[in-house]
Symmetry: C2
Subunit: 460 residues, 2 copies
């Protein structure tokens, strides 16, 4: 592979000027020949119409969700103003990591952790809160895993003066007690899930007493509360098409920064839970690939404990454990699959974005599953030379980026790698503590365990 | 007061380009007519010579410490490279806070929290670690309060491959358990202070059983370990002249960014514990003031629980509780004063930088003491509109900046305010939790309590 970078000196961090920031989101669906399959009504098995979705989601977000054709959406001024408080995010050249690995590869990362939510989640949180406010709603409900999405939504709601009710997966609620306080400081209410405050929560607790929860459970509870309270809607931090649309700001900024310095990526790597970061990061590059304008090797990285891409089935499934949400066609482990209580945090979701699932199915990207022990080892190595303490989720991408760079060291290949550093690990110190104490274990589900999840896939 | 800002549109965040970053530190002592008083040998009462300091401190740092005349010091290339990993830090225009306060003031803050240590401390940590490495040492010892300095030093030592031994004030060790894990992830050893691992620690524990510790105690322990282990030296994150020199990068960048956009500050506000942030922030502006080139209102903000400037004495005193360190002339509450276990964190130090003490004594700046309940209220208000969750230390400056902006709203004055936002509060959630639960109390020492501290001032 030839390296097409120019000789222009690349700074450690490329910051776009505020006037260079993207003013539109990019919808990769517009360039997909095989569109992602539509959401289905679980009762009728028919594609959902907008009017069936608006009791759950905000109206403009429903329109974005269902639009497979419009390539660009203007970002409203109010959202652009909010973005300017923490964006543009830097595109960082990992000079120190390159030197430590003695690699011939050039490594870049797009760092989304420089905001109080600690991750990229704020990009969609402010958009969803903005449309809720615009619709005149009182508030929104949501679920959160590691707490990044919940924090992001709390921040957005505080800024706009909306009420915010967060259901937090119980294992994370217990592992990350201070996350709750950040959300409370921003005025949100936070309930560990499953809880006895909802009918679906009580049902799950009865069926699985002592469960540590899952994103799927928490979604069910949040949807129940949104649909049963006047003036509330449910918002979701990943998986949905609208979220990938908002998150395209990551890839658009990365591409603009790279173009400014004549940098051309060969390989793009992102961690994948529901797909919000990966989808956002790769969107404009995937667009080029789909239009035949450029080629990129695109790698999704997921935890071995929750391997939707690498061991899941491409099928219609519920997005939630309670089976009250619409059906999405995606790579899934079955909505009843509850991953072990490891530190994969926000990657512990049984399914995957329909957009990414279709692209993966059509061969436009590959996927790898990695173990948490090797993920934390990569995180520590990265932190010690690049300074930033990464989130465990992001460290999945670091691990594979380092693997690729080490391969280059061995082959002499001069590849240019971009990975998404989605966030910081400041609230994930329980995981680091266990790693520091040598107490972390890996958990690889058996085929039998996965079969149990697949057995609950709906017949469509 | 006239506002001299130009009409050029000011972005939310001004980032200098890497090639615009300062390449020299500025030594404000060079422009002081009344130099800060020299450090004294507590045994002889005579000014300390370099050779008396080198058993404790690194050689080049001693030279910087004692140099009252050189105005500019070149920043070594290796340190500039490290700075580029997290600097330049943004100068932020607080548009949202201005709108929320409906003030005629313009508010700017220099945000130093966008790095894993969460504060400005990294600016001096990398410098001190660099000179230790250059001298061929094995490692360094230090104390830390809230943990920001200890984390910063751990990061710098990990980067350079130096051993790092941290004594952490016990109250913070207990309030901020995850700080310990960050430092351990960067390879440091962390001991709660006072500990039974040192002679001075055992003596303090005997005299004050159950004490929650103080920076003064932790300094004594770290110095003891440095002087009794071959190849180790002690490094300090605040108070010293060398630290203010390194931290001048904050003010120099702020000034360069402001100059670039034609912004002229009227009032400059910083929190003050030992003085590292305040000294660094104000250095180049104070230089202009001392040279008669410009005038600024400069305000130090300290906690009512540890009011060195506002209620202390300007006298020679020990920097440490164990009374083994040199004597510095400074505003002090007495080295035996142990402030209450509130959340002022890194501001809980009995003394103050000699440079700042002299400048305060000579009328070049003023000081205010604020209560932690009002500090957390200001922090919450700031977080909800500006997004960033601030450190409690930094929030002291926020509180006074807001007070000043509210005064402008009442008078219509169009003042331009700069304050130092030294760090983030991600590891201070125990304090926020108590605030959220309405459990925070204020503690104002009585005159009698202060008299006890003054009684231990050495006779010089």
């Amino acid at each position: 592979m030839t390296n097409s970078n120019t000789n222009k000196e690349i700074p450690y961090k490329i910051y776009l000027e505020e006037n260079e920031m993207p003013k539109q989101w990019y919808n990769v669906r517009a360039d997909m020949k095989n569109k992602p399959a539509p959401l289905l009504n679980p009762g009728t098995g028919q594609p959902l119409k907008a009017e069936e979705l608006t009791p759950i989601f905000c109206e403009e977000l429903v329109a974005q969700e269902l639009d497979d054709d419009t390539a660009y959406f203007d970002i409203p001024d109010e959202i652009l103003s909010f973005y300017k408080m923490y964006r543009p995010s830097p595109l960082v050249r990992a000079y120190c990591l390159e030197e430590k690995l003695q690699t011939s590869a050039k490594i870049y990362y797009k760092f989304e952790g420089n905001n109080t939510s600690g991750s990229h989640k704020l990009n969609s949180a402010i958009a969803q809160a903005y449309y809720a406010k615009k619709q005149g709603l009182k508030g929104v409900t949501t679920e959160t895993g590691a707490g990044q999405w919940g924090t992001a939504l709390s921040m957005a709601c505080a800024y706009l003066g909306l009420d915010c009710k967060v259901f937090m997966v119980k294992v994370s609620y217990e592992q990350k007690p201070f996350r709750r306080e950040v959300m409370r400081t921003y005025g949100a209410s936070v309930t560990p899930s499953p809880s006895d405050t909802t009918a679906i929560g009580r049902k799950i607790l009865e069926e699985f007493p002592g469960t540590s929860g899952s994103l799927g459970c928490a979604i069910s509870e949040a949807v129940e509360v949104a649909t049963q309270n006047e003036g509330y809607r449910y918002v979701l931090g990943s998986v949905l098409n609208q979220v990938l649309l908002h998150q395209s700001i990551i890839g658009l900024e990365a591409k603009a920064a790279a173009d400014k310095y004549g940098v051309k990526f060969d390989t793009i790597i992102g961690c994948a839970g529901g797909g919000s970061n990966l989808g956002g990061l790769i969107s404009p590059f995937m667009g080029q690939k789909l239009r035949g304008e450029a080629d990129y090797e695109i790698i999704a990285v997921e935890p071995v404990s929750c391997p939707s891409f690498t061991r899941g089935k491409f099928a219609y499934d519920f997005c939630d454990t309670g089976m009250i949400c619409p059906l999405a066609k995606m790579y899934t482990l079955g909505s009843s699959y509850i991953p072990p209580s490891d530190h994969a945090g926000g990657l512990r979701f049984h399914g995957m974005s329909s957009i990414l699932s279709q692209l993966y199915h059509d061969g436009f990207m590959t996927a790898r599953a990695v173990k948490q022990t090797e993920v934390f080892a990569a995180a520590e190595e990265f932190a010690r030379c690049e300074g930033i303490l990464p989130a465990p989720e992001s460290s999945h991408a670091i691990k594979v980026a380092m693997d690729e760079a080490i391969k280059c060291r061995e082959t002499g290949e001069e590849k240019t790698i971009l990975f998404g550093l989605t966030g910081t690990g400041y609230f994930d110190l329980k995981g680091y503590e266990q790693f520091n104490n040598g107490e972390l274990r890996d958990y690889v589900p058996t085929d039998e365990e996965l079969e149990k999840g697949f057995a609950t896939l709906p017949k469509v």
